[in-house]
């Protein structure tokens, strides 16, 4: 339904416009952006990857927080549409990945093994730099419409703007710092997922959902909740996690 899709897009734009307010949560925005990609474009999964100082691509947000999906994204440091989009600064489409096994041997095989048969990557550009890419994964092999491709490009631009707005408020910071902060935040979140998954016997996706709902309930950014989780010792009590009885 086009009107519902427009509503989702507008809502995301409004949230982006709020990036100048205090309490803004960049991780939450990125999370909503990739979620909006799935809602509006009907893809199986979406993810944002950012490049670090040495041009390694790392996941910054993903609609699927399970380990296998994250690994599929990260595999693209070897080959894949994301790496190409990042390097060339132009969108890259891989419709029907069985036709791309020569071009992307590692990625195509891994993607198809988990039921992904089409992959798009739209570069995220800021000033003259490509800072990363928005990835879209699909199980089907129908190509995107021009409209859908334009939506994807708008999403990628919004993600890039969100990143730059978040940190330029605090002080004059160059892009390198902003990307560094974003990537380090993500590492903290992954560490926190591990802590929660182990403490509560959850999958990584469930652990992320736990962090996200805790953040929402306590009105704190996800990054803060994650940092709090990993700043304690392993078995420390947190208000949200009841201690299970010790067993012998």
């Amino acid at each position: 339904m086009t009107s519902t899709h427009d509503e989702v897009l507008f809502a995301t734009l409004i949230e982006l416009a709020d990036t100048t307010t205090t309490g803004f949560d960049l991780v939450s925005l990125a999370d909503r952006l990739v979620g909006a990609c799935v809602e509006v474009l009907g893809v199986t999964a979406a993810g944002i990857m950012l490049a670090d100082q040495r041009k390694s691509l790392r996941v910054f947000a993903s609609t699927n927080e399970e380990t296998r999906m994250l690994e599929l994204f990260e595999l693209q440091n070897n080959d894949g549409p994301c790496l190409e989009a990042y390097r060339t600064g132009t969108p890259v489409a891989g419709v029907d990945l069985s036709q791309f096994t020569t071009r992307w041997p590692l990625f195509a095989a891994a993607a198809m093994s988990v039921g992904i048969n089409t992959a798009y990557a739209v570069p995220m550009r800021l000033r003259d730099q490509t800072i990363g890419a928005l990835n879209l994964f699909q199980s089907g092999i129908e190509p995107f419409s021009v409209h859908d491709i334009n939506v994807a490009r708008v999403m990628a631009d919004m993600a890039a703007i969100g990143i730059i707005n978040h940190w330029s408020i605090r002080q004059q910071e160059v892009l390198a710092q902003q990307l560094q902060s974003a990537l380090n935040t993500r590492v903290t979140i992954e560490q926190a997922k591990g802590v929660v998954a182990e403490r509560q016997g959850l999958s990584m996706g469930e652990a992320f959902e736990y962090l996200r709902s805790t953040a929402r309930a306590s009105q704190r950014p996800i990054a803060d909740v994650a940092m709090g989780t990993v700043s304690q010792r392993g078995l420390a009590l947190t208000p949200e996690v009841p201690r299970t009885a010790a067993t012998d």
């Binding site: 160059v174 993500r186 992954e190 997922k193 182990e198 990993v230 392993g234």
Partner: protein, 242 residues
């Protein structure tokens, strides 16, 4: 100047500090100091290029304030291009003391891997100075390496670089997840958990990524009472080091 009290080899840290200096010197930042923080407590200088660099670090530890402390606490670099122009409210004591030392400009970086905040790197100069965007990018990359070097130093002696680089710099998602799990399993800090994972990978000659995969896949489980983790944790397993 190597800290004689440090119990671990710091060659990796020295090399990286010298590289940081090589990048920063053309900008006018001519001294560097790397120091450790363990469980939120400063644990001393690991390497400093000259006495004043060490003094600047000590000063901030004693006062409990300063750009390096802030960088560590806030998780981002702090630049002070000219100490003669008051940079922050409430830093009067630090600014006065630093100026007395002869320090005029400072660039301070946290050394961290996610939530593991391992230390601080402080560059300083005797004239007003600041890094340009390219130099800053290079410093940030070096700080990533320095964080790993500090971590590796915690994990023990040995040449870990081959084991660690691909999965830690910056960390893969699976490595970070495994670190969080181990933190709970051995009831430690996140930094200790990371060091433990690294030590195990090195000991058994596996990549950190493979070890992380086993931990996340729950076929490998660490234990606070044992040095070696349990593979197939439902049964006792005599783990043979290769």
């Amino acid at each position: 100047m190597h800290d004689p009290g440090s119990p671990w080899p710091s060659v990796g840290v020295e090399r990286l500090c010298r590289a940081a200096l090589a990048v920063a010197e053309p900008a006018g930042l001519t001294s560097v100091c790397a120091s450790r923080v363990v469980e939120d407590r400063p644990r001393g200088v690991v390497w400093a290029s000259d006495p004043r660099a060490r003094q600047l670090d000590d000063l901030q530890v004693v006062l409990g304030e300063g750009p390096s402390i802030t960088a560590w606490a806030e998780g981002g670099p702090v630049m002070v291009p000219d100490l003669h122009q008051q940079w922050r409210q409430g830093w009067v004591t630090f600014e006065r003391a630093a100026v007395q030392l002869g320090v005029r400009s400072i660039c301070a970086f946290p050394l961290q891997i996610g939530g593991a905040r391992l230390g601080m790197l402080t560059l300083h100069g005797t004239e007003p100075a600041s890094l340009d965007a390219t130099q800053l990018g290079q410093q940030l990359a070096l700080c990533d390496d320095l964080s790993v070097a500090l971590l590796v130093a915690d994990a023990g002696s040995g040449d870990w670089s081959s084991v660690l680089d691909a999965a830690l710099d910056p960390p893969l998602a699976i490595t970070s997840q495994a670190t969080g799990m181990v933190m709970v399993q051995i009831d430690s800090t996140i930094a200790e958990a990371m060091a433990r994972l690294c030590a195990h990978a090195f000991t058994v000659g596996l990549s950190l990524e493979d070890v992380s995969r086993s931990v996340v896949g729950r076929t490998l489980r660490f234990n606070p009472d044992q040095f070696y983790p349990d593979a197939n944790p439902d049964e006792s397993y005599p783990w043979a080091a290769t």
